[in-house]
């Protein structure tokens, strides 16, 4: 018998005594990996429901709004990058117009306003940079917190660079390795850059991790922060 999926293990944990479950039980007995996972499945099935306080309830709703909103922003962002990548690969499209990101600016603003519940957001002017913010899952008061601002080129071309700035919660620059878009970038004084073309080629990869000088791996995600548009 093949190793069992989490869902198969949960099904077994929910209705263990069915006669056809004997092979599953035997497999779990003999396979340490499935045994470990079955332990988690059992806990998942037996877990007591948790009554949220009013404060926790609000936090849950805000977090859900932020997550669903930021994912929409991410998708919109990469749709635009997709459009750009088509232009960049076309023979005549080596240089983009500065207005390439124009619609992105306004759409992101709408998404941000809707998701954050903060109302209208001031858009960056045409001469201002567009920045995206990423933040660690680690909390700001912890030692493995980081925040990265990624600045897109105003007039992207095949040779443009995307610059990245990584700081701690107090704004101090961090040294280490940023693992992003399948690239491992060494940060010197909190700064790194990446060719726009590499960015386009790896646009499907959403994972981002910062490795501190001490070797601590601190993953993170794109964030809907007010400064994202400034």
């Amino acid at each position: 018998m093949k190793c069992m999926t989490p869902e198969e293990l949960i099904c077994f944990a929910m209705e263990p005594l069915r006669s056809e479950n004997c092979p599953a039980a035997l497999h779990i007995a003999g396979c340490s990996r499935c045994r470990d996972n079955f332990q988690l499945a059992l806990e998942s099935v037996c877990e007591k429901e948790y009554e949220l306080s009013a404060e926790e309830e609000t936090a849950a709703e805000n977090a859900a709004a932020e997550l669903t909103g930021s994912n929409a922003m991410w998708n919109k962002f990469f749709d635009t990058v997709d459009d750009l990548s088509k232009k960049i690969t076309s023979p005549a499209g080596n240089v983009f117009k500065s207005t390439s990101f124009g619609s992105l600016r306004s759409e992101i603003s709408v998404l941000f306003a809707a998701s954050s519940g903060q109302g209208a957001v001031k858009l960056p002017g045409p001469a201002e940079d567009i920045r995206f913010t990423f933040e660690s899952y680690a909390t700001p008061e912890s030692g493995s917190y980081w925040k990265m601002q990624m600045t897109l080129p105003r007039i992207p071309s095949g040779s443009s660079l995307i610059s990245m700035k990584v700081t701690d919660s107090k704004g101090a620059f961090l040294d280490g390795i940023m693992d992003f878009l399948n690239q491992r970038m060494e940060l010197r004084c909190g700064l790194a850059s990446l060719p726009f073309r590499v960015f386009i080629e790896n646009k499907g990869c959403r994972e981002i991790s910062f490795v501190t000088r001490d070797g601590v791996v601190s993953p993170g995600r794109i964030k809907f922060l007010p400064e994202a548009l400034r």
Binding site: T5, C22, V45, A63, L67
Partner: protein, 200 residues
Amino acid sequence: METFDKETEMAFFQRLKAEDKEAWSVIFKRSVAPVLAGKTKNGVSYRQIAKDRDLNDVTVYGMLYDYMIGKGKLSNYGFRSPVVFWMRFYVKMLILEHCKRNDSPVSSEKVDSAVSENSNEELFTDGSRENWQSVETCFSKLWKENPMSAYVYLLRRYDMLRSKEISAMLDITPQNVDTIFHRADENMRQMLRREGGMAV
């Protein structure tokens, strides 16, 4: 225990897939919060494990969301169990995986033992193929005669759940669980002796 209705789960799943804010709020309430309020079998709180790694409730929730939506793992759900249970499994897995990636000032040993206790121990036997075949034969007989007895034997043999938890799950008293286990254990020993396998 949660009842499973495929139609309801399908509708809920579609809302999660469409990144519906309210549906994802339910996941926080029914999957993330119960796990964080719960403990591993060794009594370590999942919230404490997360906190030791600089995570809080909202960031754990973010990790789950990114795993399910960002990495597209939600599509692995097969409509055979309640989505909230399935998500709870991944909340635990993500917390424990996050721990494995980094050293932590506390809890490392406890976390390791919570997920891999006995992982090198062979069940019933010294691990030889012949003995394992005997075990398969005997365990199958036990299961055929009395599935509850065989299941309690499996859970207790590997210390997966305590008698009290097994009793709540199977709706019998903890004393009954112990009695069932001892009888099943004796049964297995006798059968293995008859089979010529190694008795535990």
